[in-house]
């Protein structure tokens, strides 16, 4: 067995267990700083290690093809590591003041990360399922981590119920596909002639529905706003960028390697749903007063944009999805890091809580504005380049209407993003609270904003990496 292939996962697991142990051994009042520090250092090491793993020859399998480490998987693992890294970086103060079990918080984040990494590499339905459950169950606990807040507990229960239901649906779908094809390995399913039977089509539908729940695609999105609003703000951030990207990673893997023959069946569904997501998410976001709810709806729309790339179903499309997923991480970090600070120090995340932020914390207001504009796709932020990649890919495949919907809706999204900017720059802060920004938060917002603008101004470096990642997949 080629253990080198799963070295990243082993590293994360060791780190998670180590963090847990350190939390138990060290005296209680000293754990926060050291645990966060250890985690961050470990994750940076893993992130850099990821760069050494890119390869140009055959990609390694692990244990009877259960696990496939191609450049695509490596790219996504790096993306997850970046997401978790930033989340930990900006959540230190938040965790310190609002959460009761700090050490567990970090190790749970790492377990969720492990789940995501397994998802990115999974090459059969069972491994994918294990990864999905590892990630989701960690998130159930993380969402409820603010034990004093009833909103948080409510969100956790809601997430648990909806999540379990969707898991059940997906598992049933997997069993149907297994029943008709006799395999859970993606590559074997792909070649199986029984895939066209009614039972396996029903199975595929159920699997898709399961994924749509996880990705909160309209009409399976009802849980998202409540959960996003109730969850601790850093966890919301990770839900929006990490969990969503993981779902996309495995969805693309399943669709392109297990069911490519059924393209005629799922492509139209995906095209329509991505349009519905872009329209619905953006329109419903307009009315939201709470920024976390607003970002929940906007994340539905963002999932729609990324699905546009899946619809293209070719190399440029996949490259665009990878590119967009990465820039969305940076935009999300910027927005949620600011929200976490506001949430922690003012106890709310609505328009009133951020009003006057431009005076009390100009740097946070600027970061928030730039991050939101990146989500809307206004140059010179990364979002513009990302959308150009996505929509050129899909127009080339003949879906001009999808690009039409996408561009128009992203301009509509500017409206509600600018309402936030207006509150921050024009609004008056009645309580005159002093906003304290710690070094870690400052570092994370600055890094994310620099990344957003750097990718926007010279997208070529990231485009090259995504190209390499997409190439191994689309051989």
């Amino acid at each position: 067995m080629n253990f080198l292939a799963i070295s990243t996962e082993i590293g994360i697991l060791v780190l998670a267990l180590f963090v847990m142990a350190v939390d138990l051994i060290l005296p209680k009042q000293e754990t926060r700083k050291s645990v966060a520090c250890i985690t961050i250092c470990g994750l940076i090491a893993l992130l850099l290690y990821g760069f050494t793993q890119y390869h140009f020859d055959g990609s390694p399998y692990f244990y009877q093809n259960l696990y496939f480490v191609d450049n695509y998987a490596i790219f996504f693992k790096q993306l997850f590591i970046v997401a978790v890294l930033f989340t930990i970086l900006f959540s230190q103060d938040y965790a310190q003041s609002l959460l009761r079990y700090r050490g567990e918080f970090y190790s749970l984040l790492l377990f969720a990360l492990l789940g995501m990494c397994v998802l990115a590499s999974a090459n059969d339905f069972l491994t994918a399922f294990v990864g999905l459950e590892l990630m989701t169950i960690s998130f159930y606990i993380l969402v409820g981590a603010r034990m004093s807040s009833s909103n948080s507990s409510e969100a956790a229960v809601k997430y648990l119920v909806v999540g379990s239901a969707s898991t059940a649906v997906m598992l049933y779908g997997i069993s149907l596909v297994y029943g008709s094809t006799g395999s859970v390995l993606f590559e074997e399913i792909c070649r199986n002639p029984h895939l066209l039977f009614a039972t396996s089509i029903a199975g595929i539908t159920m699997i898709l529905i399961g994924f749509f729940f996880k990705l909160s695609v309209i009409p399976f999105h009802m849980w998202a706003p409540d959960v996003y609003q109730g969850a601790p703000t850093p966890v919301t951030a990770l839900l929006a960028m990490g969990s969503k990207a993981a779902g996309l990673a495995v969805l693309m893997r399943v669709l392109y390697t297990a069911f490519p023959m059924m393209g005629g069946y799922w492509l139209p569904i995906l095209a329509v749903l991505s349009a519905v997501c872009m329209i619905g998410g953006n329109v419903m976001a307009i009315k939201q007063k709470d920024l976390k709810r607003m970002l929940a709806y906007s994340s539905i729309a963002q999932a729609g944009y990324m699905m546009v790339g899946i619809v293209a179903a070719d190399m440029p499309g996949m490259k665009a999805v990878l590119f967009y997923a990465m820039l969305y991480v940076f935009a999300n970090v910027g927005a949620f890091a600011v929200l976490a600070v506001v949430d922690q120090q003012k106890g709310a995340t609505d328009h009133r809580a951020v009003s006057g932020l431009a005076k009390s914390a100009p740097i946070l207001a600027a970061v928030m504005t730039i991050s939101l504009l990146s989500m809307a796709g206004i140059p010179p932020t990364a979002g513009f380049a990302g959308k150009i990649y996505l929509f050129t890919a899909v127009v080339e495949r003949g879906y001009l209407w999808l690009a039409f919907v996408g561009f128009v809706m992203s301009m509509i999204s500017v409206y509600y993003y600018l309402l936030v900017a207006k509150a921050m720059y024009l609004g008056e802060d009645r309580e005159n609270t002093k906003i304290h920004i710690s070094g870690a938060v400052r570092a994370s917002v600055l890094l994310s904003v620099i990344a957003t603008i750097a990718i926007g101004v010279c997208p070529e470096q990231l485009a090259n990496i995504t190209n390499i990642a997409a190439q191994t997949f689309m051989r």
């Binding site: 929509f391 050129t392 561009f407 500017v414 600018l418 900017a421 997208p459």
Partner: protein
């Protein structure tokens, strides 16, 4: 020119100044203004230099710069100016500098104001000198957000709130650009097979000549571009953002917006619509001519009854854009030269108007035609500015407005005689509303309420001097303007002849 990157310097000097301003103390108002003015003076000086060294007999793109940028998309940082974009560039830097001087007395957060203003100017400059479509779009979208922030912070609330005005302006601009983006993406993909793709506008025009765009495609894509550029040019029925937006915006934004930003619409229609999609342009030309006529008459008619000075000029600019559209729609060399020259003429006069209104409003906090009267007694210099702009707007010979409008009528009369006659009759309305406003505001008995307000002096005179010189200079020596414009438009002759002969789907309606 050796290796000196002239156009890059013109583009980057405001950006460099904006970055420099970020590091200057908030309190240092004087240095903020001086840096902004200095950067714009450099840009303007270089532009004037380029304008007079541009080789008219050679024509084509000059002062070119090329640096590959995003290779997998085929984007290059390529700049250059020809006879169509050079006057636009001159206009941008001229109005940019005038706008800086018009904002000299700004008291509220001057540092942020000038940073945003410089970004705005750089963005507009970029659209005119870009030879790459990607850069063009990028620069165009960059300007939207500074405008929004400037309107909601420094704007004024009169008939509509400044928040409403800012949002309306932003939404219209962005919705237009959404349609434009779809059209551009379609163009980009249709032009060349994969691996040869490029956003280079000349290459796209070449693809068009090679016949890579079918006629139906051209008609469809041109329609998308027309929606985008048309709403930017305040083409009826997408014009309503213009008066509201100008009324809410601070003086500098009104000047730049009415003076140059709007002209990106006309410029884009020629550069992209006509050169890349000639058959599409021919198909939609009659519709554009019809809408142009509505623009001219309808907007002028509304301007007659406006009470707020900014609304009068707002509707007047909608009306003047009708002439530009008419010149474009006639699709011949004379009328298109007139359209380009008229964009310049209107830019200068509307910027001067807004600058003068801004000055009066800054002092008296009044903009209403019914309240202001007899200002010529207390503010003779401002009155000169008003008169110059007003007379140019009416089209008085010897000022900048006459020759371009005359050229448009000459060019379009043969193609759309009825529309041309109707549009000429629009001049009567123009004269009516302009003279009515000027008579009420400037002349009549002296009103003692205004005795306390002093006339423009010192730096405040700069917008009047700068714009006034151009207004009279180009009026007395129209050849200085028309020569350069002609050198850009005349190469279109074979293309225009070609589409005039080409049968179209509906025979051009």
């Amino acid at each position: 020119m050796g290796g000196f990157p002239l156009l890059s310097t013109v583009l980057l000097s405001p950006i460099a100044a904006a970055i420099l301003l970020c590091f200057i103390s908030k309190e240092a108002k004087e240095s903020v203004r001086i840096i902004a003015a200095g950067a714009m003076t450099i840009s303007l000086a270089l532009t004037v230099f380029a304008y007079f060294t541009y080789d008219i007999s050679a024509g084509g793109m000059q002062f070119t710069e090329d640096i590959p940028w995003i290779k997998d998309l085929g984007v290059a940082y390529s700049l250059g100016v020809d006879g169509i974009s050079l006057p636009m560039l001159l206009l941008t830097d001229l109005i940019g500098l005038a706008a800086v001087f018009s904002s000299w007395n700004i008291e509220k957060r001057p540092k942020e104001f000038f940073i945003l203003l410089l970004i705005l100017i750089a963005g507009v400059t970029g659209t005119f000198i870009a030879r790459d479509l990607f850069i063009f779009l990028l620069c165009y979208e960059v300007v939207v957000i500074p405008i929004y922030i400037m309107v909601i912070i420094w704007g004024s609330t009169k008939r509509v709130t400044k928040e409403y005005a800012g949002m309306k302006l932003t939404i219209y601009l962005l919705m237009g650009s959404a349609f434009m983006l779809v059209g551009v993406v379609a163009l980009y993909l249709q032009a060349f097979p994969a691996h040869m793709r490029t956003f280079d506008m000349e290459a796209l025009a070449m693809a068009s000549q090679l016949g890579n765009f079918s006629e139906t495609f051209q008609i469809f894509a041109f329609f998308l571009l027309l929606l985008g550029f048309g709403s930017l040019l305040s083409m009826f029925p997408f014009h309503s953002w213009s008066p509201d937006g100008y009324a809410g915006a601070p003086t500098a934004v009104s000047m730049i917006h009415a003076g140059v930003l709007k002209k990106i619409g006309g410029y884009g229609l020629i550069r992209l619509g006509l050169l890349v999609l000639p058959l599409g342009a021919k198909f939609w030309a009659p519709l554009i001519a019809g809408l142009a006529m509505i623009n001219v008459l309808y907007a002028a008619y509304i301007a007659l009854v406006q009470k707020d000075l900014k609304y009068v000029i707002g509707y007047s600019s909608v009306s003047h854009m009708g002439y530009v559209l008419l010149g474009f729609a006639a699709l011949n060399v004379i009328s298109i030269s007139g359209a380009v020259a008229n964009m310049v003429a209107h830019g200068v006069m509307s910027a001067l108007f807004f600058s003068m209104i801004g000055y009066v409003y800054e002092k008296t906090h009044m903009r209403s035609v019914t309240e202001l009267r007899g200002l010529a007694h207390q503010m003779p210099r401002v009155a000169v500015g008003f008169m110059l702009a007003g007379m140019a707007s009416v089209g008085l010979p010897g000022l900048i407005g006459f020759v371009p409008e005359f050229t448009i009528f000459v060019g379009s009369f043969g193609v759309y005689p009825i529309f041309a006659i109707l549009a000429i009759s629009g001049i009567i309305f123009t004269a009516l509303y302009t003279l009515r406003v000027l008579a009420k505001v400037l002349f009549g008995p002296k009103d003692t309420r205004f005795d306390a307000f002093r006339d423009a002096r010192g730096v405040e005179m700069m917008p009047l001097i700068l714009l006034g010189i151009v207004l009279v200079g180009f009026g007395l020596f129209p050849q200085v303007l028309m020569g350069v414009v002609g050198s850009g438009v005349e190469p279109l002759l074979p293309l225009l002849n070609h589409i005039a002969d080409a049968p179209t789907l509906l025979g051009g309606i």
